[in-house]
Symmetry: none
Subunit: 191 residues, 4 copies
């Protein structure tokens, strides 16, 4: 069994349950079923876990997105699917997103953050590029920065709902609909 992976898994679980600040290394090792000292064979500190956690989270995000978004669907449909996917990830992992955010921010691991998140930005960027090439969205769009804006917009919209309560599916449906309309206009979608 891979101890490093066990540590990361356990950390995600414990962080979600009690927050990053209140979590002691001893909580993590207990959850991982390993000895206190073993932790230090793999990570020099609590914060150094963050990039590894971030990586796992981005993988999860990508998995959910790719499971949700149909390759052959039209761009407008794909866009609503992306929104669905991001809402889903936010609902299930918003505590982790927050802690990655503040955990990375409070260290010198910041540069790794961009690298880690890059695959998701790129993937959306590519979708936008295709849509632009197909003439489905306005031609004035710069795909790279716009991809980031879209992801930021949707994530923040989802957080506004799920920050308080992850059981808000009614609210979430309304918010998603608002986001879709907002995006349709922002991107100048022609149907």
């Amino acid at each position: 069994m891979n101890k490093k992976e066990a540590i990361v898994r356990a950390a995600i679980q414990v962080f979600r349950e009690q927050g990053i600040d209140k979590t002691k290394i001893s909580d993590i090792v207990k959850a991982a079923g390993i000895a206190q000292g073993t932790f230090y064979l793999y990570f020099p500190s609590k914060l150094s876990l963050m990039p590894a956690i971030a990586e796992v989270m981005v993988e999860k995000t990508m998995t959910i997105v790719q499971e949700t978004v149909q390759v052959n669907a039209s761009f407008p449909v794909q866009l609503t699917q992306i929104v669905d996917a991001i809402f889903m990830v936010t609902r299930d992992y918003h505590e982790i997103q927050a802690l990655i955010y503040s955990g990375l921010a409070s260290t010198e691991h910041l540069k790794e953050w961009e690298t880690v998140y890059a695959p998701f930005y790129n993937w959306v960027s590519e979708r936008l590029q295709e849509a632009k090439a197909d003439g489905i969205i306005r031609q004035s769009i710069n795909v790279d920065p716009t991809a980031k804006l879209v992801i930021g917009l949707v994530e923040s919209a989802a957080e506004q709902i799920y920050l308080y309560d992850s059981e808000q599916e009614d609210q979430a449906r309304i918010q998603k609909s608002e986001v879709n309309i907002f995006l349709k206009h922002a991107l100048g979608i022609r149907e």
Copy 2:
């Protein structure tokens, strides 16, 4: 002199300088010029400062926004001014925003958060309402949820820039321009 206020002021300052994790209560009281025990007269812990800090931050935001946005300007101009203002606040206080976010999230003060942010949401909502009444933006807009989307979008765009480095004015200018165009289409602004 109001000690409670002094504590909050000092906490914001010290948190900005050294981050929330590295800040000891003793740093805060030193900066506030009060005795260690006095802190506990007003706050039971470091995290319980968060709602009070959030309140001050929203006040600061409102002040900057109202100083930046001209009352008589047209809505499109006001919108770019709102974007400028949010970027400004984010640049100067992104550490605080991050910590409010994770600080609130890791406690049970979540419900207070909506209340605290409400004035800002409302203010933008009113601007949108006026613009809608004047026929400047598309009539299909629901002003309340859209106000939240707009603020979330701009904040997340600003954070993408300033999270790494608050000296990125060139990058910021480009990002703001992207946001403005994005918003112009999203809101269906007619000039």
Copy 3:
């Protein structure tokens, strides 16, 4: 209203509820309905309360004893009444007795202790003196030390019961009966 008395009353109440160690001066003043600083106008410290509390306790004890013991009763009857009275006091105030004991012990107020308890010792001593004069108990008895032994014996017997639970009336009845027989022989009572 007499503040000093209010403080002593409040202290007894709070000490009984939470023990001497866990009781802060702030708890006492809160219960007494006075300001923190006022305490120090009457007592220089928490432990300096002890002699005053002890005095009140001995008064209570004497009151109960004198209400229970009939002046005209024969000595053997009076003795069982004394046992009843001490059991009663111990049941209701054993926490206080313990804290007076340790409270006085941990200070330099020890000398006051003897003075404070003296009236009770003396009263029992007088009863023994009378009984001796009446030839009801053995003539070899030294009344003063024996009075102390009797009180010590009965108190310790009562504590053995009530230390754990003040609702032990069945157990208490048995124990009292044992004490009475023990004392009857110890004192050489002739009936």
Copy 4:
């Protein structure tokens, strides 16, 4: 080397020297020769030491009693030896007895107290049983409750002397003599 035992040993020593109130945990760990944090590995607080201390104290008492009381001596002689032993223990450890008493009383460890004291009660009870079988004491005696009365009587008599001053050997001799006579009659000893 057993750290838990070292802590209890050190605590008894330091408590005797400076009293329970004035003793800091840091004093205990210093005396035990361990690190501050190690204390918390074994005990959550100063008061939680009490049951462990009580146990050691009862062991010490038993040891002294068994060293003092001669197995082949007649019961009357054994009884005076028991009195001697209890006076000795009280002289040397009255501070500890007081603190066990109030320390146990102020916590929820009360139930353990009976268990801890049981061996001593039983041992005296057995002596009484033998004496009763040998017809040396009155046949109406119930050995178990009487054992407790005897121990309580002697302890309280000893405390009356040594509470104030452990150098009172003259007083102690007189008091012991009083106790012996008192007991001789109470138990109906036939010589």
